[in-house]
Every structure is written in C-alpha cells, then in structure tokens.
C-alpha cells in the first residue's frame, strides 16, 4: 500500500486530455499509430516513469487486466503488482534512471488482474517521452501457459528421475527393506507427500505389521512422527478391505461423508491418502501408503506410474527374497541336521572302517576332525558289545536297513556313553559307496530306565517290608549292591524332628565292616553337623572326596583306618519335608561314584514318599496295638488278616485264634446274615460307618460293638475299627424296656402325660391322654381353646387363672375335675401338674399327668352311699361294730352318738377295757374266756356269743356278738371284726314265748293224752257194747266205767285251766 499511495496520481482527469493528444480519434479503417497501439494483440501501456502512473493503455491491456480505460489511467504500476513484488518493482524503477533514453529493457514479473488473478508476465519496454514527460512504453506478454508447460516438463522429469532412482535403489540394495526406506525418501521428496510407509502382511499368520516408514524431510518430526507411523486401527481396517482385493485406496478429507473416518483424518491431520496393495505370486503381502497432510490432491497419472513402478519392483524383490530365504532355510536345516545336530553321522566302508565322520563326533565324543577316518568303527565300542555290533554290520551289508540295540561307546576322555545306531546300505551308490551310520546318544534314556528300575525295585522292597526296620535294611542292601559301594547308611529324623539318628546300615566288603568297627557313632546329629546334617541343611545330594581328611566328616579317622575315600549322601524328601538321607561309602575315586550318580538323581524323592508312608505305618501299627478299641484288617474273603490285642482281649481269645479265622466265627448268629450281605455289597462302598453288631466272647457273653470299616481296594483289604458299646447298649435296652414298661403302666393305670411350653398355645399329649379324652391325635389338637372345651362346664373355672400364679416350681399340685369326652361322656379325672423351670429358675413349661378316676369316683360314691346305708342300718338294727388289730393289740369300736352320728373309739384290747365294762359282771369272765379260747383255736374263724350287758343306767340288755377272725398262714389271728346286736327286746319276747309254748305244750299233752285217754276208753267201751252187747260187758259195769272216765276228764280239764291261769300270772305280754 505504501507504494500505491506513493505513486498514485490523484488528478486522473488529465489522462483523457493527454490521451486525446497522443492518440487523436481515427476511423477504424485508417490505421494510425494509435490504432497500432490499440490493436496490438499484447497489452501495451505508457506510464510516467516518475509517478509510475499509466498515461495510456491499449484495448488488450484493458481486456487482459479487466479495468475500464478510465479506471486504468488512474492506476500506477504498483496497483497491478502483487504486494509481495513491490520491492522488485521499486528496484526496477531505481534502475530506470540509469538507463539510456529509449533503451530497451526486458524483464519477468508477476501482475495482478482486477479480479485478483496473479499471472506471470514478460515485460518489454522502451523509454519514451510522452507529453513531455519521461515515460516508458511497455508491452506485456502473459507467459502463464509457457510457465505451466515448463513446470509440467519439470515435474515429469522429476518423476522419471525418481523412477530411475527408485529402480537403481532397489536393484543395488540387497536388503529390500532398507532399499524401501530409501525409496520412500525419494518418493516423499518427488511427490511432496508427508508420509510414506509399508505394512507387511505375513501370509503365515495373517498379521499385518509396519515395516518401513518415512516422512517428508524437513517436517516437524516431534510427536507427529510417532503418531504418523501407526495407522489407527479403524482406518487400517477401512483400507485393508479394498486393498486385499487388489484395488487402490484413495481418499481425501473433502470427499468424506463418514463422520468417524473424517474424525480419524482430522485426528491424523490428514488431507489425502493413497494406499496401494502389494501382491506376490497372487498373495497379498502388504500395502504402501502415502499421505498428504497439507492439501487434498488428485493423484497425477505420472505419480501413480511412479508408485506402480515401486510396487511392481517391490513385489518382484519380495518374491526373490522369499525364494532366497527358502533356499537358505533349507540349507540351514540341513546344516543343523548334519553338522550341528546331536546325531553322529558316519559313512563306513564294507570292511567297517570310517570313511566320513560328521562334526558331531567332535562335539559329542570329543574325537577331533578326521582322527577316526580309516579306523574300524568298533575301536570306540566297549569290548562287551563289539561282537554284537560286528554281526549287525554283516547284516547291514545284506539288508538295506538295520538297527542296533543300545551299546556303549567310549568318550575320548574315557567315560562311556550309550548309543544306538541305524545303518543304511548305500554301498552301491557311487557317490557314497558305504553304509551310512546314524548314531544317537541314548545314555539318558538308558540311565533313566536303569534309574527307574532301581527306584521301582527299592520302593517295592521298602513298601512290602513288614515293618520300617526290615524295609530300610533290605532297601539299603539293594542300593549298596546296585551302586557297587562298600557301605550304606540310612539316617532318619527323630519324631520330634530335631535330630538325625542312624536307622540302618549295610556293608558289602571288609572295608565297610572295618569302618563300622572303627567309627564311634554319635547318638544323634543336628542340622548342619556331619554329612547327614549338612545334607539336611542343603536338602541336596552331596559328594565328598577324601573323607579320611575332610574337616566336616566326623568319622574321618575311621575312614582313614578303613581306607574309605568317597561318600555320597542323598536326601530323602517328600514334598518339602526332609525325612533323612542315605549315605554310600566307597574306597574308590569320586569319578567312579559319579558314574553311578545318575542312579541317585530323584531317588531320594522316589523313596521319600514310601518312606513317609512306612514311618506312618509304623506309628499307626503302634497305635493299632495300644488302642483300647478293637481294630482288625480283613481280606475280601472275610478272613482276619490282622487284629490288635484289644480285640483278642475283649473276645477272650489269643491272637493265634483270631488271625486266619473267618470273622463270622465271632459274630452273633442273628447278625451274621446282615454282615454277610454287607460284605457282598459293602465292598462297593469305600467307607461304611456305624454297624451295630453283637459279638460273642469265649465265655458265651454277647457284647455290642459299633464297627466302621474302610476298603483298601488296591490290597483287597477291609480295615475295620470298633467301639465296645455293650454297657451303653445295655443301658439303652434297659431304658427302652423301662420306657415300654412305663408306657404299659400308664396304659394299664390309664395314666396320661402332657406338657405345654408356656410360650405355646398347644399342649403335647401322650397317647393315653388322648385315649382318656376319647380322641385320636388326628382329630384333636390340644390348644387352650380346645382344652377348655374338654373341661366340664362346672370345672372350667380351673383354667381361668394363669397357672404360674398358683404353682410353685417343682411342686406337684393335684386336683380332680370332670371332663367331657369326644363321645359326650362325663368322666372324672385326676390331674397332677408341675411347673418346670430352666437353669436360671425361669418357668419354662408345665407338665402333668392325667388319670381317669371315674371308676374310683363311682366306687367312692357307692362306698359313701353304702356307708350311709350301713350307718343307717346300724342305727336301725342297733348294731355296733368292733375290730381288734391283733398285731398292735388295738380294739376299735364304733358307737352311735346321741345325734345319730357314728363315732369311733380306740383302746387297748384288754379285759379291763371300757368295751368289756359294759358286759354284765356275771358274763364278763365267760365272754373274755370264750373270746380268748376262740382266738387260740387255730382254725377258729367264726364265733358267736350271747351275753348280757349293763347300761349306764343299770338296765340289763341282751346281745348277740358275732365275729370273724382273719388269720395268717400259721393260724395266728391278724384281725377280728365283730358285730354286736342288741337282742334285749327279742330275748324278752322269746322268754315269753317259751313260757307260753311250755304252757301250750302242757295243755296239748293234757288234751291229747290225759283228757282223750278216758275219752277213748269210753269210745272203746261203747264200741264193745254196741258190737257184743251185754255178753261182753254188763250195763252197770259199763256205766260205772264211763262214769269213772268222765270224772277223770273233768279232773284233767281243771288242770288245763290251772295251767292257763298260771301262765297268766307269770307272763305280761303273752298277747
């Protein structure tokens, strides 16, 4: 703007006048100078050199620059120059002054059209004087096209150069990956892209990984470099879709409609991207991506050509590399197999001599290269196996393929290795002409096998021994013999775990024996002390040489004296538990022992498990024996294999009688089938708990046991333990019986039991309680409400109050009431209830018994009625009851009081007692004597006495005293009960009757004898006279006799009257 204000001429009005002067109007047909000026196909103008103001412009200038003529002429040169070129303009203007007049000048500039378009322009000018002013005529030629064309050429050249460079790069560089990075640098520069990268796809596992990356040089490589290297995963996915199918992926942010993608682009600062796939032999192997961060671009065909060229060459290169890689890999494999492998490969001629040995002979057996060539192959074989191998060689010559078994080969350093060889016959192949021997080292396998065999043998030996001591000794013996040593020892940890003691030893040879004799053994060793103590500490196998002088070896003196030199110690371990160790001693070198050391590897752990088990077994055996409960072990056939003393003692048999017997021998007959069944089925259950079984002792006593058993399937054994529960069982049975009896008793006594928790509304009723109420448990629930219904309405008041208010804990309360049974019957019951408390003396529940006492009640009622009746009868009949308790000599009698109540009197049974005082003094002795006599008569039961009594007023009474005596088995009187009936009235009446009867008898006699005698005499006389007349008796005689008889009759009648009168005089109640 500075220039514009500086050079612009404010009075633009002048321009038209000047114009007119310089170019006067002419007709179109006449070409004037102005016409030439105007029709020039290039823009022409004249400007004031001083002010830079346009003085004249032609039509082409007007058209090209887009200003109107007038407008144009108000402008200066600065107005058509881009602001950034004003410096250049002012420099040019400074030079104008130094130019000669009319001197021609040519230059290249950029100009600005009215519409803002900037275009390159070639200006050619001559200085002129116009209207007297120093001016310059300038012709402008728009060179846009020329420049564009030049640019294109340049671009293409650059592309071609880039292609050439890339190809050169790829061809020269053996590492295509490095070459690729170089190519990316070239491309970035050539195509002006900001990022170029290569993602390789691994056809083996379908992964895709960034392998090469370049960004445009000069780019800020800060965070952007890191971000740019890795494509965001969603974008990569987007790209891989089309490229896997062989298509290019081309995208610009402007065309993106997908919001997510757009965000990805924005996030990556990405404007355009082009991704090309790489296929090798039709397999997708990766992509090359190019990114422009500045502009959205349409990729030029030349650019694409460049990229295609890169892709094509790269594909080719990758294919080539793949092929080479393949070859190399194969070669490497071969090298690994033959030269670097562990197999020994050799070619042997038909005589058995080495023709070729692989480098492994050196690696594995330390025979230097070619030292074996020409030697017989058996020279390195252990003599004992040579014969077999020679035979195998002969066989190999006839057959195509032969294999040897394991044999020993000498290592160059003197040790031995186990080998196995496969011989293949190639004698007829001209390139080989020999037997190819593939030999592999099987030392480890052979050792492992021997080790396993030994471990198995030792563990079996230990496991099968009858006890720990025997097991240790046998195991040690085998170990010593197998490892060819002189002496072996086993040290075990004490049960408390604090010490080690020698548990067993075994010597093989005199030196071992001597060592044992010479050594003074310590009682025990603690951790860290002596060889066993150190093994304990380290829990690792240890080999000590020169034990005769070893500072830590306690028995070194004995070693010196016996000639033992080397010791090996192996810990016996199970889990993390150190159980002890075994020690082996030899008079030989460490190396000799080391030959066997493989045997001990892991042996400590192998033995450890069994050893632990054996130690436990020993402990269990001790428990087995000392247990007071019976234990035994049965075979599956039922025989007793082992039993403890407790079982023998309980059954009262010796151990010899138990072991070997069938278990059923000792089982109660009734329980045998049950057990036999279990034995058949039970072997299927692993553990069988709690069988109650009776066993019979030698004294035929039944004892109860509860047996539990477990099955050891492996050994087909049943391990059984028992508990003698005889006492418990007896108590149980007795309790059960007592219970049954109690129930029975309750049933018989019709005694029901009930209880109710105070917190509950429902009582618990025994069966008998239900029975008393006439219900069954199914049809009646004894809730309080139901309970009230069972009470007789008049007795329900008993249930109104809280029982706690009336009951004293632990004290029985008894009451009687009536119930209404299920059948509507009223029955009397007696309840005895008690309030029970817990330990804290809080009332917890009520319990009680209920008894049907209806019968008793009825009986009591009847008894009362009977008593009443009896009392009344006594009263009516004037009877008095007396009783003598002879045991206590007590006499009880009842008597009626004045108000007709019965009253009892008790006194000693004596003659002087009040009871006898009422007896008439004349009869007292008689009565007492008669009673005593009755009592003394052993069979005397019933008796009766009639005697007189004297009343308190002196009246005489008569009584009949009837009594009955109960006696014991020996006839002694226990009780006498008597009833005294007052017969005074009866007696008096009887007396009267007797008198009357006597009188009547007299009268009757008189009548039938005394009176009738003379009468019958008369009747006989008359009969005689009637039948015989005077021949039998004279009339006078007849009359005299009749007269006598009549007088006699009269006399008798007088007697009768006298008797009658007499009776009247004596009696008073004869009527």
């Amino acid at each position: 703007m500075y220039y514009k204000t500086l050079y612009r001429t404010p009075n633009s009005d002048l321009t038209q006048a000047q114009n007119d002067r310089m170019f006067p109007d002419q007709t179109p047909t006449d070409f004037s100078a102005d016409d030439l000026f105007d029709f020039c196909p290039n823009p022409l103008w004249i400007y004031d050199v001083e002010t830079l103001k346009f003085l004249k412009v032609n039509r082409e200038a007007i058209r090209h620059y887009g200003y109107g003529e007038k407008e144009f002429l108000t402008l200066t040169l600065a107005d058509i120059s881009p602001i950034e070129d004003l410096t250049k303009l002012s420099a040019a203007m400074e030079l104008i002054d130094r130019r000669d007049s009319e001197s021609f000048k040519e230059g290249f500039y950029r100009h600005l059209k009215k519409d803002g378009t900037v275009f390159p322009v070639q200006l050619r000018g001559n200085l002129v004087t116009y209207d007297g002013r120093k001016a310059e005529l300038v012709m402008a030629t728009d060179i846009s096209e020329t420049i564009a064309s030049e640019k294109r050429l340049l671009f293409q050249k650059r592309i071609f150069q880039a292609i050439s460079e890339i190809n050169t790069h790829l061809i020269r560089n053996s590492n295509w990956m490095e070459a690729l990075e170089g190519c990316f640098t070239i491309i970035c520069t050539a195509l002006q892209v900001h990022r170029a990268y290569f993602y390789q796809s691994d056809p083996a596992d379908a992964t895709i990984t960034l392998k090469a990356y370049r960004s445009l040089e000069g780019m800020d490589m800060g965070d952007e470099a890191l971000q740019g290297q890795h494509l965001p995963y969603p974008l990569l996915q987007q790209i891989l879709g089309p490229v896997r199918k062989g298509r290019k992926y081309e995208q610009s942010i402007e065309n993106l409609e997908d919001v997510v993608l757009r965000e990805l682009f924005t996030g990556r600062n990405l404007k355009s991207i082009l991704v090309l796939p790489i296929f090798v032999n039709n397999r997708f192997r990766g992509v090359i991506g190019l990114e422009d961060l500045v502009k959205t671009r349409k990729w030029h065909s030349a650019e694409k050509q460049l990229l295609d060229s890169l892709v094509s060459n790269l594909s080719h290169l990758i294919a080539q590399t793949d092929a080479i890689e393949n070859i190399r890999a194969n070669e490497k494999r071969f090298r690994n197999l033959v030269q670097k492998g562990t197999d020994l490969i050799a070619i042997i001629d038909s005589e058995g001599r080495y023709k070729y040995t692989s480098p492994t002979y050196n690696n594995q057996l330390a025979y230097a290269k070619d030292t074996l060539l020409g030697q017989h192959f058996t020279t390195i074989v252990c003599p004992e196996h040579q014969g077999v191998l020679l035979a195998t060689l002969q066989r190999a010559k006839r057959e195509t393929h032969v294999e040897t078994g394991p044999y020993r080969v000498r290592h160059a350093k003197g040790t031995w290795r186990w080998m196995e060889t496969k011989l293949t016959n190639h004698l007829k192949e001209p390139t080989i002409e020999g037997l190819v021997a593939n030999t592999s080292d099987v030392t480890q396998q052979v050792h492992l096998k021997r080790k396993r065999e030994l471990a198995l043998d030792l563990t079996k030996t230990l496991a099968n021994a009858k006890n720990l001591k025997v097991g240790l000794r046998r195991t040690l013996k085998k170990l010593v013999l197998a490892s060819n040593v002189t002496l072996g020892e086993i040290w075990l940890r004490s049960k408390d775990g604090d010490q080690l003691t020698r548990a067993s030893y075994f010597h093989h040879g005199k030196k071992g024996q001597l060592f044992l004799q010479k050594s003074t053994l310590r009682d025990f060793l603690v951790i860290g002390l002596g060889l066993p103590g150190i093994i304990w500490k380290t829990k690792e196998p240890i080999i000590w040489e020169n034990i005769d002088s070893h500072p830590s070896f306690i028995r070194s003196k004995a070693a010196r004296e016996s000639g033992l030199r080397t010791a090996i110690g192996v810990p016996l371990i199970t889990g993390d538990d150190f159980l002890g160790c075994f020690l082996l001693f030899t008079d030989m070198d460490k190396t000799v022992l080391e030959d066997h050391s493989f045997l001990f590897d892991g042996l400590g752990t192998d033995l450890g498990g069994i050893l632990k088990q054996k130690i436990l077994e020993d402990e269990y055996r001790e428990f087995f024996e000392i247990s007071p409960d019976p234990f035994c072990i049965l075979g599956f056939d039922g025989t007793i294999k082992q039993a403890n003393k407790a079982l023998a003692t309980i059954l009262g048999v010796s151990m010899e009688m138990l072991v070997g017997q069938h278990y059923q021998t000792f089982i109660h007959e009734d329980d045998r089938p049950k057990l036999a069944k279990k034995f058949q089925n039970g072997v299927s259950d692993d553990i069988d708990y709690g069988n109650e079984v009776r066993m019979v002792t030698t004294t035929e006593e039944e004892r109860w046991f509860v047996w539990s058993s477990t099955i050891n399937r492996g050994e087909k054994l049943v391990l059984a333990v028992a508990k003698d529960i005889t006492e418990q069982k007896r108590a149980e049975l007795s309790l059960q019986r007592a219970n049954e009896r109690l129930q029975q008793a309750q049933r018989i006594a019709k005694l029901g039991y009930w209880r109710r928790d105070l917190s509950s509304d429902i009582s618990e009723w025994s069966r008998e309680t239900y029975a008393i109420h006439g219900y069954t448990p199914d049809e009646f629930i004894p809730t309080m409400a139901n309970l009230i219904d069972t009470f007789h309405p008049e007795d329900r008041f008993l249930l109104i109050d809280d029982p706690k208010d009336h009951l004293e804990p632990g004290k029985v309360m008894r009451f009687e009431h009536r119930i209404i049974t299920a059948h509507g019957e009223t029955r009397w019951v007696q309840q005895e209830i008690q309030l029970m408390v817990d330990d804290a003396n809080n009332p917890t529940h009520l319990e009680g018994t209920i008894q049907d006492i209806t019968a008793r009640k009825e009986y009591e009622l009847q008894l009362k009625m009977s008593n009443d009746r009896f009392l009344l009868a006594m009263l009516a009949s004037n009877q008095t009851i007396w009783e003598v308790d002879h045991t206590n000599k007590v006499l009880t009698y009842s008597h009626m009081t004045e108000d007709n109540q019965e009253q009892l009197a008790k006194e000693e049974f004596l003659k002087e007692s009040s009871w006898f005082k009422r007896v008439h003094p004349d009869d007292k002795d008689l009565v007492w004597t008669a009673l005593v006599q009755h009592l003394d008569t052993k069979n005397g039961r019933r008796g009766s006495l009639d005697y007189r009594t004297v009343g308190s007023d002196g009246t005489i009474g008569y009584v009949t005293d009837t009594f009955h005596t109960q006696r014991d088995s020996e006839g002694r009187p226990i009780r006498t009960i008597g009833s005294v009936m007052d017969v005074t009235v009866v007696k008096n009446q009887l007396e009267q009757i007797k008198l009357q009867n006597k009188a009547l008898a007299e009268i009757a006699w008189l009548q039938s004898h005394a009176i009738r005698s003379p009468l019958t005499r008369i009747m006989a006389l008359l009969k005689l006279y009637q039948t015989k007349g005077e021949s039998a008796i004279s009339n006078a005689e007849l009359l005299r006799l009749i007269s006598d008889s009549v007088t006699e009759i009269d006399s008798e009648i007088h007697k009768i009257i006298a008797i009658t009168h007499n009776n009247h005089d004596h009696g008073n109640s004869i009527d």
Partner: protein, 127 residues
Amino acid sequence: MEILLIDDDAITNFVHQNIIESKLPGMPIKIFYNGQTALDHICAHPETKFLVFLDLNMPIMNGWEFLEAIAPKIDTLQVNIHVLTSSIDPRDHQITDAMPFVRSFLEKPLDENVLDRFISDKIDQRE
C-alpha cells in the same frame, strides 16, 4: 306169731283183747302195762314174730322210750310195731313217722277192720 298189747290202761286192753280175739280166734295175745316188760319179752324171744300195739303214755317206760330202746336192736328182731294211742296231737304222729320200723299210727279205739289189713298184709310182708 304173738300179739302184744302194751298199754297201762286195763279197760282199753280188755276191750282191744276182746276185739282181737273175736277177729283172730286162737291168736296168742299178751298184755304188758309198760314198755320195759314188753321190751324184755320181745328181746327174750327173738325167734318169735310179734305184732305190737304200743300206747305212748305209760309209766316206767313210755312208748317213746320203748321205741328209742328197741331201735338199735330192730334188725335182730321180728317185730311189727303199730302205735295205738289216744293222742290226736299231730306232732306225736310226725315223730313216729320218722321211725321206719313203726308201721302205722293208730288212734284208739282200735278199729277191727284195720286189724284185718295188718294181719293179711303187713305181717306177711315182713316174712
């Protein structure tokens, strides 16, 4: 056979003797005035068959005492006893009923028709 009349009343004996003699002429008849003399006579002649007419009320040994005395010996003797009394007391009748060897209880005076039956039936039965 001998007929014994045991009665302390002479007139009655006279009348009965007369009735028997007229009914059974020639039949020996002996009269005793108390039971003792009659008992002595019977016991002295165990081989003889006796038809006895016994009065109850007599001195020395009355009829009851006679019966009581003869009872133990009755099986060794051949005697048919008929009580012939003036008593009409049923108790006297009842007592003699209890004595199987007393053939009948007759009231004085003796009926001659009754006598016929005794002679024909009862004495024959005994034999």
